[in-house]
Each structure stands twice: as C-alpha cells, then as structure tokens.
C-alpha cells in the first residue's frame, strides 16, 4: 500500500512540475501557432536567476520566484518583439530561430554563472518531511504540487473565463475577423508570449528545488515539455495538466517497477497517445 501511495505522490508531484514546465509552451504552440524550442532555455534562465536570488543572496523565495519569472518573461518578450512576430505561421523558421536561442541563452548562462551546476535547494520552511498516515513524505514535493495546481487554476481562469482569453482564442480561430472587431492582436500575442515565458521562469525557480540549475536544463526540460504538449494536446491548459500528471504517474511507476525500461516509458505513452489521438488527449481543434 505504501509503495502504491508513495509512487502515486511521486508521480503527481513530478507531474505537476512537468505541467509547470510545459503549460507555457502549450499555450504558445496551440494558441499562437509558435513552435518555441527555446521554452526550456527560458525555464533555465528562471532557474539560474531564482538560485541567485534565493541561495546566493539569501533573499525571499517569493521574490526569487517573481524575479525568475520576470527575467524569463523579459527575455521571451525580446524574442517575440525582435524576431518571432515577423515569423507567424512560418514553423520552419520558428524552429530554426528558437533553437538558435537555445544555444545563445545556454551560453549566456554559462558565461554569467559558469559551467558548474547549481545545487537543488529547498525554500525556507519547506524542508523536512510531513507525516501522511504511516509514512513520511518531503514537504518540498508537496509544495511543488500545490504550486502546479495554483498555476493551473490561474491559467484556466485566464484562458476560459476572461475577455483576454477569449481574444486569444478568437485571434487564433479567425485572425482577420478578430482584428476587424478592433482588437489589437499584436499586443495580445505579445502579452501571451510574455506570460508563457514568465510561467517558464517561475517553473524554473520552483523546479530548481528538485532539479537544480545547470546549462543542460534547456534541452532536458524541452524534451519534457514536448512530451507533455504532445500527450495533453496543444493550446489547452486542461490538456497540459492531464498529460503532465499522466506522464508523471506512469514514469514514477515505470521507474519503480521496471527500472530497466525507465528510459522509454514516457516515450511509450507518447507513442500510444499519438496513435490513438493524434491531437493529444485534450488538444484544441483548429
């Protein structure tokens, strides 16, 4: 029983981290049609900045989350304003450009923080274990899961319950008609890209409690994000959430029960989902 509950908790907490990593990418890919391969690099920027604020300067963890998100958001904003806005509906160019940014941002981080890794850290007040029934569980992991739930609720509300979310969805469905209604779509897309990068940044700070900060994060997290987006479906907060939790739980049980196959359990799920539902579990219809 403990084994089952423990792995379920492990799966959910890691899944929520995957959601934090992937949700911004899903929004940008599904709603704006931008394939942003630099999403993992934006996560990495957030992780490094967060580490610097929380560990190096020993400042408030909340401030670290905000500044990590803001740094990544501003980098994302620069990418969108200077480059990507000229490349809407040009996926090949977007892929090449954003992958170029992976190298640029990775090397900038190495230049600023050096090649050595920064250790995973625990936010003050979140260290130690909590008793759950007859077993103990790290508080950090529960805090990560709760952070994911909060971000999911905010994003769902923003996307489905606000005028801003409606403008984004309308813009993707019929760009000309939406503009004809007097909506400044360029500004809407700019804010959406900033928001996605901001979420990647805060995910970087929150995730640094488990993964630390290092230059390989840009690619490692990109892979996670792509898998979650493919499984959950593009452009849907609910899809990203469902995909992330599913991947997290299957990965946890796969590693615990069949460790020799753990290298590809995630990919196996992705293949099966792609075969059964090419748009992902809750992918947004065009």
């Amino acid at each position: 029983m403990d084994f089952f509950v423990l792995n379920l908790l492990n799966g959910i907490s890691f899944g929520m981290l995957l959601f934090l990593i992937a949700s911004g990418m899903s929004i940008v890919m599904g709603l704006m049609g931008i394939v942003n391969l630099a999403h993992g690099a934006l996560y990495m920027v957030g992780a490094y900045v967060g580490w610097t604020i929380a560990v190096h300067y020993g400042l408030n963890f909340g401030l670290a989350i905000f500044l990590g998100g803001l740094s990544a958001g501003l980098v994302g904003l620069m990418m969108e304003r200077a480059f990507l806005r000229r490349l809407y509906k040009q996926p090949n160019e977007q892929v090449l450009l954003t992958f170029g940014f992976v190298y640029i941002l990775t090397n900038l981080c190495i230049w600023i923080w050096g090649g050595g890794p920064r250790l995973a850290f625990t936010a003050p007040g979140l260290s130690g274990l909590i008793q759950l029934g007859g077993m103990s569980y790290p508080i950090t992991r529960i805090a990560i899961a709760i952070s994911g739930v909060v971000v999911a609720i905010v994003l769902w509300w923003l996307q489905d319950k606000t005028r801003f979310g409606a403008m984004i969805r309308a813009g993707m469905d019929h760009k000309e008609m939406t503009m004809g209604l007097g909506i400044n779509l360029e500004r809407v897309f700019m804010f959406t890209f900033f928001l996605a990068a901001f979420i990647a940044g805060i995910a970087g700070v929150i995730g640094a409690q488990l993964l630390g900060a290092y230059s390989g994060l840009s690619i490692d997290t990109l892979l996670f994000a792509l898998i979650v987006v493919i499984v959950g479906g593009m452009g849907s907060v609910q899809g990203a959430l469902l995909g992330a939790i599913l991947i997290g739980i299957i990965d946890a049980f796969g590693r615990a029960m069949f460790p020799e196959f753990s290298m590809f359990t995630m990919y196996l799920v992705m293949i099966i989902i792609l075969m059964a539902r090419p748009k992902g579990l809750l992918g947004r219809r065009a």
């Binding site: 492990n10 050595g116 990965d251 946890a252 590693r255 290298m263």
Partner: protein, 397 residues
C-alpha cells in the same frame, strides 16, 4: 603585339630572378652554422566534453592539460607542442568523429580522452587500427586494457572502487548493502568493483538498482530501496549525482550512504553549496586536494592561480596524464610514433600530486587509492583521506 613581347620579356626576367633567389635560399640553408629550420610540432589531441552530459568536465580537464604544457613551455625534446582540443559532447558518435578528425586531418598520434566509458568503447577499434595512443582520463573500462594502446588513469573503473568494498566491511562493519548505480558501462564496473569486494569479505548485496542516466526524479527508485546497513551509490555526472544525493537525503530513508567516485562529485565548489548536508559522508576517491605533499601543494597552488578554484579529480588526472605523455616523449627524443611512445609510457615512474605513479604492462596506472570523508576544517568543507590503500590491480586482467 609589342605589349605582349614586352610582358613576355619581363616575365622571363622575373623567372630568372626567382630561380636565382630560390637557389641562394637553398644554398644558405645547407651552409653549416646557418639557423636550422624550425622543428615540426608534436601534435597532442584531446577529446573533452564542453557540451553534453559531463560538460563541466571539459574546461577542468583542459585547464589541467594546459598547466602541464605551460610548465613544459609547450616544448618537449626540442620540438614545439601543438595542443588541439575537441568537444566530444559526451557522445560516442561525436567522439569517434572527433578522433577521426584529429588523426586524419590534424595528423595526431596521441589523444587524451574522450572522457566517458561508452565513448572509450566507441573509439577503441579505430584507435587500434590507426595506432593512436589513447588516454582514459577518469578511469577506463577493463576491456580497453588488452588493446595495449590505452593509458588508463588512475586505474580501471572496476579496480577503482575495490578498496571501498573492503573498507565498508572491514572498518565500517556493514554486512548488508543496497547499491544504486547509473545504468551504463562504467557505472556497472564502478558499482560492481566495490560490491564484489564487499561480497568477497563476506557481505551481502541485497539489492542493486540501476538508474537511467538522464533521470530527473529519483524518488521512484528511492521508493523501492530495501532495508540494509548502507546504500552505496555511483551516479554518473555531477548534476545527476548531486540530484540523487539531495533527493536521497530529503527522502527520509536515513540509511548511511557510501559515495563512489566521491572526489568527482564532492568537488570544492560543490561542497561549499552543500554546506552541512553531506558532512561526514564517506566515499572513495582517486585524488584529494587536501593531500599534504610538496608536489600536491605546488600543483594545487598553481591550479588555483590559473583557474581561481581548488582542483579536483578532472584537473589533476589530466595534468598527470599530460605529464606522463611529456615524460615519455622526452624519453623517445620527441618521437611520437606509437611503437616508440608506448613502451616509453609504460616505463614512466613519477611523483605526482596523487602520489607515486607507475604503469603495469597493460597501460593501467598504479596509484594510491583513498577512502575519503567530508569534514569541516577551519570553517571550510573539504574531502580528507581517512585511509590510504596501496595500488590495487584489476583482478579481471
């Protein structure tokens, strides 16, 4: 027509002039006492990892090699040294491509690296076919030794951890053990070297867990750990090793740990970040910056002056192997052909920052081996030797 004739006549004059100048130059160079033409440089290649899984190793290894070359003033036996470092990207295919480039385009006969065990195996056949002297800078697979063209330093992966298995049983008094290791060729050898030695003394390994190299979350593996006297782990890659260690400490499992290849993971800057978390943890190391010998003190000071950081295993191994190659080149009078260089390498004996170093007939180094512990001395977190074992040879050779 006149113009063409004129040009033709000028051309003839130029031709004659060039011929005269060429002849004069040739004669001058043959005159006794004239300055000799500069000697051809000896090219030393290196395949390090500046990107990829162990990208943090590359710059450190390069710094160690450069220090050794700087001390030799980039010259050996009257020949200048050209040092060419390539990025193997922690990838077997890339490492092989880079070795081919070094050999076929740069005409290199010596390659320091690649760094990882699977990359070693990927380049091994090509290196034998092309008579390249190779160096495994952070242990090597036992399978490389019979090829007789690899300098394996400080020893094989398997032999490296044998003393730790003995120490766990004899001194720490453990009788049961769980091992956790990275699921790749060298990971298996590191773990099994210590596990087999532990069993040989009478201990029992009750569980072996092999983890995916790119694991982000070790919690699912930790959920399966059975009760034992200790958990011995070897997780490849500094980031992965730290991630595992921190997640283990946070998991509340609470069994004591033994850290294989501790010097590669508990490096001086990492220990600063860890703080008290890993205080007292025991492991196995091939080098300790705290070794108080004149050679090590001089090396550590020079390395710190060069990089601003205290050296770890990557720097020292690269430094020592480069020193060994330079000593062998000196012995051959600067002949870097494999047939001359290999026996010269095997004959090298020198005092190094790690202690005395010599080689067996397979090219495997014989060095002292250390059981180490994280301690806090004068407010500084350091790895200190708590037991020194004389060189251990690989029983599988």
């Amino acid at each position: 027509m006149k113009g063409r004739k004129f040009l033709s006549s000028v051309g003839k004059h130029w031709l004659v002039l060039i011929l005269i100048l060429g002849t004069l130059l040739l004669m001058t160079s043959c005159v006794p006492g004239a300055p000799a033409p500069p000697a051809e440089p000896i090219k030393i290649g290196a395949i390090l990892d500046f990107t990829g899984f162990v990208s943090d190793w590359g710059p450190k290894c390069k710094a160690g090699m450069e220090l050794a070359l700087e001390e030799a003033n980039y010259e050996v036996a009257g020949r200048p040294i050209e040092f060419i470092a390539e990025d193997g990207a922690s990838d077997p295919t890339t490492s092989l491509e880079k070795l081919k480039k070094l050999v076929e385009r740069d005409n290199v006969h010596i390659s320091l690296g690649p760094l990882l065990g699977d990359c070693h195996l990927a380049v091994a056949d090509y290196a034998v076919e092309n008579k390249v002297l190779m160096a495994a800078l952070y242990n090597g697979m036992t399978e490389l030794a019979p090829k007789h063209n690899w300098v394996i330093f400080p020893t094989t992966c398997y032999a490296q951890t044998i003393p730790m298995g003995w120490y766990a049983y004899d001194v720490l008094g453990y009788r049961t053990m769980v091992t956790v290791g990275s699921d790749f060729t060298a990971g298996w050898d590191y773990v099994n070297g210590a596990a087999d030695a532990f069993k040989e003394r009478g201990g029992t390994v009750i569980q072996q867990i092999w983890t995916d190299m790119a694991t982000a979350d070790y919690a699912p593996y930790l959920a399966t750990v059975q009760k034992a006297d200790c958990v011995m782990h070897m997780i490849a890659g500094i980031m992965q090793a730290e991630r595992f260690e921190l997640q283990y400490l946070d998991s509340g499992i609470g069994m004591p740990t033994i850290h294989l290849t501790q010097d590669g993971h508990h490096t001086p800057p990492v220990l600063v970040d860890y703080g008290d978390k890993v205080l007292g943890i025991i492991g196995e190391s091939s080098y300790l910056p705290t070794l108080d010998t004149p050679v090590n003190n001089a090396f550590a000071a020079a390395m710190e002056a060069k990089t601003g950081m205290k050296p770890g295993g990557e720097e020292v191994n690269s430094y020592v192997v480069t020193k060994v190659i330079l000593a062998a080149l000196e012995a051959t009078g600067g002949d870097d052909s494999f047939d001359k260089l290999w026996p010269a390498v095997l004959a090298v004996k020198m005092e190094t920052p790690q202690g005395p170093v010599s080689f067996d007939q397979n090219g495997v180094a014989l060095t002292d081996m250390y059981v180490s512990q994280v301690q806090k001395i004068n407010g500084e977190y350091v790895l200190v030797p708590i037991k020194i074992y004389p060189p251990v040879t690989d029983p599988r050779l």
